[in-house]
Structures are given as C-alpha cells and as structure tokens.
C-alpha cells in the first residue's frame, strides 16, 4: 500500500502498470535460446500450452465459467490450420488468422447455448459439447483422418523467411511471439471495463443483473475471445509439429489445461503460463512412467491444491509475499 492516498484514477492506473517481475518473466522466456538449445521443441510446446491455458483463464479465472470442454476450440483451431495448409495455403500467419476466425465463430455459436446456464448444467453442457466435437473429429475420417491424424500438412516459412528447423528455433520463436502478442491482448482485456465486468460475474452472478449488467452477453463475448485464443494455440501446435491428431480435441486435453491453470493460479494471467510450464516440463521428465501413474500424481496434486492451496502457486506466493511485507 502506498502511503500517499491515490486518486481513484491513479489507483486504477497503478493496477495495470507493468511490474519489474513481469518484465523479468518475459525476458526469462528468451533464455532457452541460449541456455537450453536442445529443448526448444519442448519450449515451443510449453508456449503453445501456456497460450491455451491463458485462454481458459479469461473464461474460468476471470468470468468464473467452468468449462470441461475447452479442448474443442483448441482442436478446431488445430484442424482448421491443418486443412487450410493442406488445401489452401501453407503460409503460417494466414493459417493462424483463419483458425482464429473459425474457432471464434464456433465459440460464439456454443456460447449462445452455454451462456444461459450455470453450475451443473453448464458443466454438463461443456463436457457434452467437448465430447461431441471429439466424436465428430473421430468419425469424420474423410476430413480429419480420424485416429490416424491429419496427413499431408506442410507449412511454409514464417514471414517467408524462417523455415521450421529440426532444433525448434523457429518453432519456439514463432510460438513465443504469438503467445506474447496474445498475452498483451489478454492483459489489455482484463484491465478494461469488460474485464471488470467479467470479474463481477465471477464474484457474484446474482448481483450482476441487479446492477443492470447483461451478464449473458458478457459471457458470450468472453467465450468467443477464449475460443479464438484456444484456436490459435491449436493452430500453432499444428503448424509447429506439422501434424494434427485427435489428441488435440480430446477430453484429456480439456482436463489437463484445467489442471495447469488451477495449479498455477486462476485469475492472474500468469497462473496458466506457470502451470503450463511446470506441467509440461514434469511430463517430459517423467515421460517414462505409464500414463495412469502420471495421472496418479496429477490427481494427488489436484486434491492438494483444492484442500491447501486454493489460489494455486501464484496465490500462495502472493499470500506469502503479503505476510512477509507485513512483518
């Protein structure tokens, strides 16, 4: 707390100011180029997953809308980018744009349905729609390649200059740049009046109509934005790996992203990024163990977070920092 009382505007301005920690965080994301050149492919996967988690953060962390089917939009973006490169044009940036538009449109259509509901009905609808999308991708073999994955994707150079190399320099640079740009957008959104309205929805769904707020319209907008971002993340995965698989649209992916976001701390923008980094690196390190044992630890972690660390790692850290400042 500042000693000099701030004017209300100055106070709100201060809320959205960049902190040194944030700047350091983004500078640190450049380190893998020099320190971990062997892990750039992994770093690129982390950046993509972080973007996916960031998209869910807008929906869940800010608007408080629980979705168990967020991978639907990731998958739509992934397949759109794959099909676009295969049949239309292999240029990456137009591919991202088309994927964003298609997934935003799907998100908007889905939001027309889900924005009317809360609680169990909402959870069931997002789960049902997610499973439906997965089933469609699986059955539409002629279009998606079904369980074999989409074949024949080839992506041109980024901006016509950077080829996707074997070491992942281009992949990581490209994913990181897209992540950073969309992070700036997300940051702008959460510090806008709309971002405040989303927090209002999360904090009290009953009160919102009583202050004249069209909550459903807000949720539709949030859903559309989150779907577009998730779709871009999916498209990035397709482009950097030159493949699109059913896994990208599966329930497992929806559950994983939820775990990452909650582990890192929802509603703080950075929670999803940190959660994604920890999750992906841990999975890479323990890639030898059977999936069911990997999920054993994830399960324990979830139980632990819910019972002891309700605001995730970042929430815990900021509580520690507050206590330290007090004493």
């Amino acid at each position: 707390m500042a000693d000099v009382p701030l004017t209300p505007r100055a106070y709100l301005q201060a809320q959205s100011r960049w902190t040194p920690v944030e700047i350091a965080f983004w500078l640190a994301t450049l380190l893998p180029f020099w320190l971990l050149p062997d892990y750039l492919s992994l770093a690129s996967q982390v950046a993509i997953t972080a973007l996916f988690a960031l998209s869910l953060d807008i929906l869940l962390g800010y608007a408080g809308v629980v979705s168990l089917g967020h991978a639907a939009f990731f998958g739509i973006g992934a397949y759109t980018a794959g099909l676009f490169s295969k049949f239309v044009w292999g240029a990456p940036l137009p591919g991202l744009l088309v994927a964003a538009i298609v997934s935003a449109a799907s998100g908007f259509v889905v939001s027309l349905i889900v924005a009317r509901f809360r609680h169990f009905t909402l959870i069931m609808l997002t789960l049902g729609i997610g499973l439906l999308m997965q089933e469609i991708a699986n059955r539409a073999h002629w279009l998606t390649g079904g369980s074999d994955g989409l074949q024949g994707i080839s992506i041109n150079k980024v901006l016509g200059a950077f080829n996707f190399d074997l070491y992942g320099y281009t992949a990581y640079g490209y994913s990181l740049a897209v992540l950073f740009i969309l992070f700036l957008c997300a940051r702008r959104i959460v510090h806008s009046p709309f971002g405040l309205a989303l927090r209002g929805i999360r904090e009290n769904w009953t009160r919102m109509p009583a202050i004249g707020a069209p909550s459903r319209a807000h949720v539709r907008m949030a859903f559309t934005i989150a779907a577009a971002m998730a779709g871009i993340a999916g498209a990035l995965l397709t482009q950097t790996t030159q493949s699109a698989a059913l896994e990208s649209i599966s329930f497992g992916r929806s559950a994983d992203v939820l775990v990452m976001l909650v582990l890192g701390g929802a509603g703080r923008l950075y929670g999803g990024l940190i959660g994604a980094a920890i999750f992906m690196v841990a999975r890479d390190q323990f890639s030898g163990i059977a999936p069911q044992y990997w999920y054993f630890w994830i399960g324990l972690l979830l139980i632990g977070v819910v019972m002891f660390l309700p605001n995730g790692i970042l929430g815990g850290l900021s509580a520690l920092a507050a206590r330290w400042r007090k004493s």
Partner: protein, 258 residues
C-alpha cells in the same frame, strides 16, 4: 402532507394481482400496490411474510405465477431483471450480495460503467474512463465509503458492506429504489448512519423499504404497507397503522416472540 389532493399523483411503480407459490406454500397472494412518484413507503410484516419474495417478483429475480408489474406506464412483467434496472428500478439485498474480492471503487465503477454502457468495451483501459470513475467515487464519498474504497469488500466491516449495497443500487441512477432491510444485522447504534444515508437520498426517488424497527418505520415512511402471509393485510399512513390494534397484534405480537 397536504390534505387536499387535486390531481391523481403520478404512479412510479405498481403491481396488479401479483401471486407466487413455492410448492404448496402461497408466499405472495394477489398483491396490488401503487407507489406514487417521490414517496417513501415502508413494507412491514412478520418474518416469512413474503416481503423479500415480493421484491424478488418486482425486480424480476423470480417469475410470478400471476399478475403484472408496471414501471410508470409500462408493463415490465416480461422483462429480464437487468432490463428493469436499465429502466430505473433498483434494489438492495437483505443478505449482502456483493463482490467479495472487488473493492468498493471497482464494484461501483462497474455498476456505473454498466449503466453508461461502457462495460462491453474490452479494448479501452478502465482507468481511461474518468467520468465513470469520478461518479463512482462521488457516490462512495457521499455514503462515507471514500476512505475504504481500495479495500477488498470482504475485508470491510459489516456496516460498511450494508452501505455498499446502497451505493451499488444508486450507481444505476434508479427512479424507484427497493431497500430490503438496509440495516439488517447492523447494531442499533450504527443503523442510524444507514438510515441517515437513506434519508438524504434525492426527493425525486421513489422509495420502498422493508424494516422491522418500528421507530425507524414511523420516522421515515410516509405510508406503510403491512404484509401478512403473503397478502396485503392493511395499509395507511403511519398514524393510521400505529393506531390499528390488529397490526399491533399480528405484527408486533409475532415479532416479540421471534
């Protein structure tokens, strides 16, 4: 009050034969009321009489089984709650219904921004909306919440939270304001502050408040509606109501046991 009424007063809010059942329990029965513009009405009745339910029906938080609601001359029965707010009907809640992790400045700025239709803007920064922020701060300062306006709502003392309830409602610039026990749960010595704030509200505002403390009711209301078992038992001026032995029996009787 003047004795001679020359013209029929303009009606700000009215209900026609409103009714609501919860299962077999009739909580609102054929309620017809008219609130003239600029008056201060009190709604009283024993616990469980259906007062809060009536407010929920009027504001659209519950759908009535029968009857209609008029705001001015317009039938708003089929409108969504937020549409009624936009047309100037606001309320507060008996049980705090606030935004626990937002601070009062953010909460009231949100309400102002919603009214000014700025809350859908996702590409402008909140701090650039100077007018909304100033207006929100003005409302908070008027309700003596200025010095706590950066503290998260959940950390505020309970009495301040009750004031914030009113601040949020005022931010919608209501024509009709329904206050559901604004001082509920506040110790006697602090409830004066809250009713002082209510008394200082603009005279153009049409007010209906629920309150159990009869001293407060007689002091602030120009007209009293007594609700018992979901139906209007009687209504009249404070003098009439305080002289009515049946009201004493029904209302004060149950209160003392409760």
């Amino acid at each position: 009050m003047e004795k001679v009424v020359t013209a029929t007063p303009e009606i700000a809010l009215s209900t026609r034969g409103l009714s609501k059942q919860f299962g077999s329990l009739a909580v609102t029965q054929d309620v017809t009321i008219d609130l003239p513009k600029g008056v201060r009405y009190a709604l009283i009745g024993p616990n469980g009489a259906g007062k809060t339910t009536l407010i929920n029906l009027i504001t659209g938080m519950l759908k009535p089984d029968g009857g209609s609601i008029l705001l001015g001359a317009d039938d708003v029965t089929s409108l969504e709650p937020q549409q009624r707010v936009t047309r100037g009907l606001a309320r507060t809640f008996q049980i705090n219904t606030l935004f626990p992790s937002l601070n009062p400045l953010e909460a009231v700025t949100l309400a102002v921004a919603e009214r000014r239709r700025e809350a859908g803007e996702f590409w402008t920064s909140l701090s650039s909306h100077a007018e909304s922020i100033e207006e929100a701060y003005g409302i908070l300062a008027r309700l003596k919440l200025g010095e706590v306006c950066y503290q998260p709502t959940r950390q505020l003392p309970y009495g301040r939270q009750r004031l914030l309830e009113i601040a949020l409602a005022l931010a919608t610039r209501p024509k009709v304001l329904l206050l559901d026990e604004p001082a509920a749960g506040v110790p006697q010595e602090e409830s004066g502050d809250i009713f002082e704030a209510v008394a200082n509200l603009s005279n153009d505002l049409t007010l209906l408040f629920i309150e159990h403390d009869m001293h407060v009711v007689f002091r602030f209301a120009s007209h009293i509606i007594v609700l018992v078992g979901g139906a209007i038992f009687t209504q009249g001026s404070p003098a009439e109501i305080s002289a009515d032995p049946r009201v004493r029996e029904v209302y004060l009787g149950t209160r003392q046991h409760g």
